[in-house]
Amino acid sequence: MSYDVPHVPGEPEAESSSSAGPGFPLWEVFVRPSRGLNHVHVGSLHAPDAETAMQNGRDVYTRRQEGVSIWVVPSAAIHATDPFEEEAWFDSHKPYRHPTFYEIPDEVGHM
């Protein structure tokens, strides 16, 4: 469901505070939909430890028979590439790595 909450005219925007407690660590959840497929990232949740994180992951992310295996990883353990470097890292064209680069005459048959 999608809910819009209107802003009351004249009310100041609330700033968040860090007076809230320490909370449970954040975990990223990966689910293997069925045997033969990769684990896929589905979202995150909070849990005090790995066992609870896996149980919660199962309850939250596989209610509709969506998986046969779950990985949970502390979010802090994830290292990510720098989005500013997206072009430098991922935009290097080497078309000769793809089969469509090559012209094989039809008479040769499937290759």
């Binding site: 469901m1 505070s17 989005p83």
Partner: protein
């Protein structure tokens, strides 16, 4: 390219902004507010429907209702997770909700007085939310869009189960039919109010639309909802509580009466029928559970220490 130019290009190209991309501070704040309040709405939304779980009239209805409320908790969780990618923690989010600094959709400040209310909520409230929902799967912020796709998939039974309840009641005994009509009478106008103030008065819409956070206006969505829902009410043989409701041949839509904007703002400001109870319930659950969360943290710490010294 400057970071601002890169951001503008992403938006203009209908591409997704991801958590570690540079984004204007206003964009980040607007998103945190919108996603958080959306999440809070789902979480508080457990309460009015949860109110009838123990009294559901059949085992099948009981199971369906528990599953629906469970989904709502799940949706809240996906949204909180999306908000967290923007730099706010779950605990801060809870705190903002409990202290009223962030809000939730006013629709959940109305009481569920009869079983028929559960039907009306599924039909009208979920129906209204769904009107908005598909649009949000195209929202510019990646984690929010992905949460919305997941929510949309799970949502598909929510409205149907509500309408099915209404169908059975409307075709049932005289008392059941009266129960259904009474629920419609009480939930119709609040459902229309879910779409927010009229476009002319909506302060944040303009910018939200520019940033492709919001992709259609309040009035557009509200009209779409009315046009879809009026025939559904007619099929039930129930009367929509609006004497000004009439079909307009020219514009091919249902013209409807004036919404009570005084009530609307009163409820948003905290003076609706159940505002205090909803927050009190949430605060109590959170504070009653503090010792549990503390215990889980303590146990985890002990385990880590044991493993380290092994």
């Amino acid at each position: 390219m400057t970071p601002q130019e890169r951001f503008d290009a992403l938006i203009a190209g209908d591409e997704k902004v991801e958590p570690r991309d540079w984004m204007p501070d206003e964009y980040r704040k607007t998103l945190i507010r919108q996603i958080a309040q959306h999440g809070h709405s789902e979480v508080i939304g457990q309460q009015p429907e949860g109110n009838w779980i123990t009294r559901a009239p059949t085992l099948r209805r009981k199971a369906i209702l528990i599953a629906k409320v469970q989904d709502e908790a799940g949706h809240g969780l996906y949204l909180y997770s999306a908000a967290e990618t923007l730099g706010i923690s779950r605990d801060e989010l809870q705190d903002m909700l409990h202290t009223g600094r962030q809000k939730y959709s006013s629709i959940f400040n109305y009481p569920t007085l009869t079983w028929a209310d559960i039907g009306a909520i599924g039909w009208l409230v979920d129906g209204a939310a769904i009107t908005n929902q598909v649009m949000l799967t195209r929202t510019s912020f990646g984690p929010y869009a992905r949460a919305m796709i997941r929510i949309c998939k799970e949502e598909s039974f929510h409205q149907r189960q509500g309408y099915e309840i209404m169908l059975v009641l409307a075709n049932g005994s005289a008392e059941q039919k009266a129960m259904a009509q009474d629920a419609l009478d009480r939930w119709w106008w609040p459902a229309l109010m879910m779409f927010g103030p009229p476009d002319a008065e909506s302060t944040h819409t303009q910018r939200a639309v520019e940033w492709k956070i919001k992709r259609e206006t309040n009035d557009e969505l509200r009209q779409r909802f009315v046009d879809a829902t009026v025939p559904q009410a007619h099929f039930l043989g129930l009367t929509i509580p609006d004497p000004d409701l009439r079909w307009d041949d020219e514009s091919e839509r249902w013209e409807f009466g004036e919404i009570d904007w005084v009530e609307f703002w009163e409820v948003v400001k905290g003076n609706g029928p159940c505002n205090k109870e909803r927050i009190a319930h949430k605060v109590k659950a959170w504070s009653d559970g503090a010792w549990v969360r503390e215990a889980a943290r303590a146990h985890a710490t002990k385990q880590t220490r044991m493993e380290a010294s092994a």
